[in-house]
Structure formats: C-alpha cells, structure tokens
C-alpha cells in the first residue's frame, strides 16, 4: 500500500486534568473515507482541531503525506493539502456564496498579493467557484450573502470551499448536523461521489450515513479509540454497542 495521507501517532491532549485525546493512532490512506464516531464530548472535534492545527496536542505526532506537521500553523497545513469544515458553520458572512468559494479558489491559484485588478472579474476564479457550487447544488444561491443562507446550505458551501482547495485530505466535522432530511441526503450523496477522490475523515452522528459511506470506522470514547475497523465489524462489536451505540440504530 502507498504512503498514508494522514497518520496520527500517539496523539494526546489534555485540558488540565481532563484528557480529551488519549493516545490516538490513526492511519488514513488515499481514497479512504474514515468515519469517526463517539458520544458527545468524546473528543472528536478536539481531535479534528489537532489535525487541522486549530488546537495543539500535548504529545504525539501528526503526519501529512509522510511529513510531520505537528507544529505547523493552520494555514501552512492547509497549503499542504488539508481542508476542513467546522462543526459550527464557518463562512465569510458578508461575502456572497460565490465570493466565498472564489476566495477559496484564489488560495490555490497564484499570488494573493495583487493589489490592482478586480478579483470579481477574474473568470478563472469565478468559473472554478461556480463549478464547485454546481457540484454541491448551490449554484442558485451564488449571489446570496453567505450569512443569509440556510444552515444546510452553509454546510454545503463549506464543502464547496474545501473542494476547490484541491485537498489531499478532507476533514468534515458533522457536515449533516442540524440539516433537514433532504439536505442531509444530498450531502450523503455528495460524499458518496467524493469518496475515492480524497482521503476523508468524517465525524458524523447519522449512523445510517456513516455505515453507508465509511470504509473504516473508529469509535472514540473519552478520548480513546476503543474500536477501529470496517463498518460491519464495528456494527457487531459488543463493546461499542455497550459504550455508545443504541441497538435501534442498527435495525
């Protein structure tokens, strides 16, 4: 197998006495969708934050394409191919939906230290952005201010912004949380299409979606990975059921 895209080695993080990441090892090869599940407060978001650089681990190592990135800034990791969505939607509220994505395209296409020509007239940025909006089904909302679109649309917008970064790995923190049924189905369908193109780490509570999409599932409880394996084995794991999963979710 080729070199993994993302590798976590003995990752540990404590807030005072509270250990929120407890010796986590994880390996995500190219094209794999790795789902991270666990009860609220298990430390999923904190783990994602450490991977993306929004939080720094107390110990351990994070490798991106073989390179140690443990102490690199968020921006530096992003430039090396990490893209993420946040559990709490994070967009540029005053810009239009199109401008949000165009700014993301801009991050990957030439210098942003250009002071004279209008960015809004750069067809290269706009066309690419429009393409990504079409991919996530947001093209009709292109000219709406991003602060005014629905919650589900913001989730989709975040994914579009991540896609145009041409990432090596996508980190998605509960992309379906708080979205309506239709929207979450749309995002599931989108993830199914994206699967295989990128390595993806997906934190999600929607078990149907997780088991439908994941190549591998890791279960996090109190900061520890208590089980990791293909969806079928996780589904049958008694410890996992006891610790976390309600039986009705597997009906």
């Amino acid at each position: 197998m080729s070199e993994p895209v993302l590798e976590l080695i003995g990752l540990r993080k404590a807030y005072g006495a509270l250990v929120v990441t407890d010796g986590v090892d994880l390996c995500v090869p190219h094209g794999e969708l790795h789902a991270l599940i666990g009860p609220n407060g298990a430390g999923k978001t904190t783990l994602m934050n450490q991977i993306s650089g929004n939080a720094s681990p107390s110990a351990g190592e994070i490798r991106l394409l073989g390179e140690t990135v443990t102490h690199l800034s968020v921006a530096a990791r992003a430039r090396r191919g990490m893209a993420r969505s946040f559990q709490i939607s994070s967009v540029l509220p005053e810009f239009t939906v199109l401008e949000n994505v165009a700014l993301s395209v801009q991050a990957r296409s030439g210098s942003s230290y250009r002071f004279w020509s209008a960015a809004s007239r750069e067809a290269r940025l706009n066309d690419r952005a429009m393409g990504a909006l079409a991919e996530v089904g947001l093209q009709d909302r292109a000219y709406a201010p991003a602060g005014q679109i629905s919650h589900g649309e913001k989730r989709a917008l975040e994914i579009a912004m991540a896609l145009v970064l041409e990432p090596k790995i996508l980190l998605l923190d509960e992309p379906m949380a708080g979205t309506g049924h239709e929207e979450s189905e749309r995002i599931t369908a989108l993830l199914r299409r994206l699967k295989g193109r990128y390595a993806i780490v997906l934190v999600e509570h929607d078990m149907q979606a997780v088991f439908a999409l994941a190549d591998r599932v890791s279960v996090l409880v109190y900061g520890k990975v208590i089980a990791s394996g293909p969806p079928t084995s996780i589904r049958e794991n008694a410890e996992v059921r006891a610790a976390y999963l309600g039986d009705e979710e597997f009906a």
Partner: protein
Amino acid sequence: MSGEAGALPLAAPAVPRPRAWLVGVVIFCALALAPLAVPFVGGNYLLLIGSRFMILAIAALSLDLLIGYGGLVSFGHAAFIGIGAYATGILAVHGFTEFYIAIPVAMLAGALFALVTGAVAIRTRGVYFIMITLAFAQMAFYVMGSLSAYGGDDGLTLPSRSLVFGSAALKSETVFFYAVLATLIIVTLALRRLVASRFGRVLQGLRQNRQRMEAMGYSAQGFQLTAYVIAGAIGALAGFLLANSTEFVSPAFMTWQRSGDLIIMVIIGGGGTLYGALVGALAFLSLEEGLSHVTDHWKLIFGPLLVLFVIAAPGGIARWLGWRAHE
C-alpha cells in the same frame, strides 16, 4: 495582471440603492467648484478649511482600510501624519524642498515605521492591538518632541512650501487646494481598486472570519501587515500635505486625540466603504467648526452627540444611506 472580463454575469443584487461612488463624485465636484466661491464667502479661509478637510480625509481613508476592511482598529494613525510631516519639514530645513523628493521620503518613512511597529502590533488582537498602536504612536510623539535640533515641543517652521520642479506654485492657496484635491481623488480611486483586488478580498475575509481564512491557507499576519504598511504610507502622505498646508510641523500633529478624531471620522461615516470616511471627515470637521464657534467646551457636546449617533445609526452614515460595506 489578469483582469479579463468574467464569463459569468456577476449580477447586481436585486435591491437598488444609492450608489456610494455617486456621493464621492458629488463631493469631488463640490470641492472642485469651491474655489469659485472664495470671492463671496470666507476668502482664503475657505481654501484653508477645504485643504485641511481633504488632508484629514486622506488620512481617514487610509485608516478605513485598516478599520473598515481589515478590522484592525489602529489608535495610532496620527503618528503617520506626524512622521510624514516631520520628514517633509526636516528635508526642507536641509534644503530638499522638491515634492518629488519629499513625497517618497515621507511615504517611505511612514511605511518603515508601520513595518517595524506593525510587525509587533499585528501579533495582538482586539483591545491589545488598540493599546499597542497607541503606545507606538505616543512613542513617536515623544521622540519628535525631544528632537531639539528640529524645534522640540515648539515645532519646526518650514522655510517654504514644497517646490514643484523649481516652481513655487504651491504658494498659491488655490493651486495648493487643487493639488490636495488631486491627491485625494487619486488616493480614493487607488484604494477603491485595492479593496476590490485579490489582496483586498483576503483582507476583508480575515476581518469577517479569520479561522475560515486560515483554513483556506491564508496566513493572516502577512496580509494585515501589508495593509498596515500601505495605510501608514498614505497617512504619511497626508502628513506631507499637512506640513505644506501650515508650513509648520509640531508634535501636536501626532497626539492621541488626533488619532481618536480619525477613528471617529471613520465610524461616523461608516467603516468599510471608503466614501463613508470622506463623509465622516466632512461631518466631523463641520461639527467641530460649528460647535467650536458656539462654545470652547465643544467637545463636551460633541462626545454625547457621538454616542447618540453611534446608537442611532450603527454602521455610520454610509449604512444609514443603505450602502453595502465593501461594495
């Protein structure tokens, strides 16, 4: 540079609203015609007031780049005016009176001060940024006040206004007025382009949501420091003009009160619109002028008025008129 027309129809938002640039055109036209009124009202005093307004408007515009677009509330912007003014004055004392020497030197001095102090200040945020920019400006204030060779606290009188290729044309208040107006228009148009450029978008993005911008790979500090340096250079350009206007330079040019006045201009006008800074400077100076004729304690009236205004019209005059920021 790539400025090819977009293939997409970049549809204007549906709601029609007063175009901000129209206000700019109106202000510029009114200014261009103002000297015609000199024989009837105010005499040269009118030109002096007009020049002073435009000079402070230039400084306010550059501060709007920081506050309105970058979210960087600098409380030390008067320092750049002072540095530009002192650069001009000191050069003049030593016989360098050509504008084409004074302007680049003044702007470079402002840019350099911005680069050095900004590199420290930009590492802080919010209130700390306000405090540290204030501290650096106070430092510049005291340094200039201690330059006994250049007048110390008493200031420095310029031997003359800057020369234009050997000519003393700027001696004429009318010519000087138009030179300032031309500078104001150039600065306004250049900043309009800047805020709409790739760089301008990044700067605004960082104000709206730094976390998101960093997740895209933008390093905040480089962009913010660049904006700070540009604003510093333009502030120093205003200082060059101010020194020429009064033919005098003193540490009083760079008091923290002046920095505060500039912030107030941006806030009254509405940050993040540029034309708002123009309107804000005009409103501020008119109020100052009007109230100071009524009473010496005009600031006692002005302060509460300002608070009321900010409560009544958050977003300033610009938002009041329905302009969208960063339009």
